[in-house]
């Protein structure tokens, strides 16, 4: 191939890299927050008393976990006809919420019933049980897998490039098509993804430390 490297193109096209980074961060942040909310609700619903609600939430989880994200995005954008960024946010949220619902469900499930029964027998109200017994333990169990899912959101945001969202992976192609320097672009962008993932790892570690403190003190 006799490939000549020209890292200067990264400087020349840094506005593209910046645009890509901004969009990836926006898309991922929205995706994380919304899917946590939605997934939390569905995960709770999965553990509800009412059988139909449990079944409905279970169906939601199975349905959106077993269809590739790219198919879901294409559906929202081309079939339903939403604009690119909203379609990407909705698609990413719905898809991730199914996984987060599972994480939350299993986190709640892993807390032994005996704990709750014991707390109730002490005379704690349901709210107090949740606040002081269930929630802290659930949070501790749930934070690591949530961290994994959040990193997945960042990775999955790359799929939005197929529905015209100009995020980081799109910019790899864009810089490539403008300068034919695919290698340099791919290297820079890979590094950016690693940095984003590291940010989440650090964030989750910080959150975990806060919760741990709360557990001790509470």
């Amino acid at each position: 191939m006799g490939y000549k490297f020209d890292w200067g193109v990264l400087l020349v096209y840094r506005h593209l890299l910046w645009q890509g980074l901004v969009l990836t961060v926006q898309l991922s942040a929205l995706g994380m927050v919304l899917s946590l909310a939605l997934g939390g609700v569905i995960g709770l619903g999965r553990r509800a008393e009412a059988k139909p609600l449990r079944w409905l939430c279970g169906a939601y989880i199975e349905f959106f976990r077993n269809i590739p994200l790219i198919v879901q995005l294409f559906f929202w954008y081309f079939a339903v006809g939403l604009e690119a960024f909203p379609a990407a946010v909705i698609g990413l949220t719905v898809y991730t919420s199914a996984y987060i619902a599972e994480v939350i469900r299993s986190g709640l499930q892993s807390i032994p019933r005996t704990q709750i029964e014991a707390a109730r027998s002490f005379g704690m109200t349901p709210f107090q049980v949740i606040r002081h017994v269930v929630l802290p333990q659930a949070l501790m169990r749930v934070i690591p897998p949530l961290g994994v899912e959040f990193i997945n959101v960042i990775k999955n945001s790359s799929i939005a490039m197929t529905i015209s969202v100009t995020e980081l992976t799109f910019q790899t192609q864009q810089i490539e098509s403008l300068t034919f320097r695919g290698f340099e672009a791919a290297t820079a962008i890979t590094l950016l993804y690693v940095l984003l993932a590291l940010t989440i790892v650090l964030l989750m570690a910080a959150i975990e430390r806060v919760v741990r403190l709360d557990l001790r003190v509470g």
């Binding site: 081309f78 499930q109 169990r141 961290g147």
Partner: protein, 256 residues
């Protein structure tokens, strides 16, 4: 709702599905081998074997699959010295990507066998390799099987991304059809349903495997079995929990 268009193009789309299955199966086998190798490296006592393995595993898992596919596309002809087909590049990318996950699954599986088992086997006179082969690995495989199926499902869905390097698997086939007939609701709805049916069936198999090989324990107090019960995709989380724990200096695998 024009279902006609699906029926007409079914044979073509099914050949795409065939390619999807082939890609998934071959990648699974390849990445199992690779993952086993890397798991061994990961568990080795020598830091100069361990650290490259850790680096590889963590690096590949933080990068999106699409980027791995681009990388494989650029790197493969250089590494092999001559031209490659999109299918081979796709396999290279999928195996490269999945190996890192498999390494973690296998490592967790091996580590889930209590040391007592190896010690007991050595005590009754088996060599290390015999102990591995007859005692540890069969049990480890049983523990791993839900996670393995879960990875296969992820791989199956991941093949939809190789459409960007021109491999005609199921999703691209359906896209080619839609690019001619423009019936997005019908075509993408059909694609969604097919993927759902295939992957859901596989996940039911995974649950069945889980139940068969359930790790007996005293209830929900142990987070490990909680993770097992939650349907195996949390396996990845368990091992990453270990990784995250290492990074932050706490062991997140043990409850509190």
């Amino acid at each position: 709702m024009d279902l006609h268009v699906i029926v007409e193009n079914l044979p073509y789309m099914l050949t795409g599905l065939q390619m999807t299955v082939i890609l998934s199966a071959v990648s699974m086998v390849g990445s199992f081998a690779g993952g086993a190798a890397f798991a061994m490296l990961r568990l080795s006592p020598w830091w100069w074997l361990r650290w490259p393995a850790i680096l590889y595993i963590d690096l590949v898992r933080t990068v999106p699959l699409i980027m791995v596919i681009f990388w494989a596309f650029f790197l493969m002809p250089v590494l092999t010295g001559h031209a490659t087909t999109p299918v081979k590049a796709a396999l290279f990318a999928l195996i490269l990507f999945n190996t890192s996950y498999m390494a973690e699954v296998i490592r967790a599986g091996i580590q889930s066998i209590p040391k007592g088992q190896t010690e007991a086997s050595r005590a009754i006179g088996l060599t290390y390799l015999q102990a591995m082969r007859h005692v540890v690995l069969p049990q480890a495989l049983r523990h791993m099987s839900p996670a393995l199926v879960s990875r296969f499902i992820a791989l199956f869905m991941g093949t939809s991304l190789v459409y960007i390097i021109g491999v005609t698997e199921f999703f691209r086939a359906a896209n080619n059809v839609n690019n001619r007939v423009y019936r997005s609701y019908e075509i993408y709805g059909f694609v969604a349903i097919v993927y759902f049916v295939c992957c859901y069936a596989l996940s039911l198999a995974s649950s069945a495997l889980e139940r068969r090989f359930a790790v007996p324990d005293g209830g929900g107090a142990d987070t490990r079995s909680g993770a097992l019960r939650s349907g195996s995709r949390a396996w990845g989380a368990r091992s990453v929990a270990g990784a995250l724990g290492r990074l932050t200096g706490t062991d997140l695998r043990r409850p509190d």
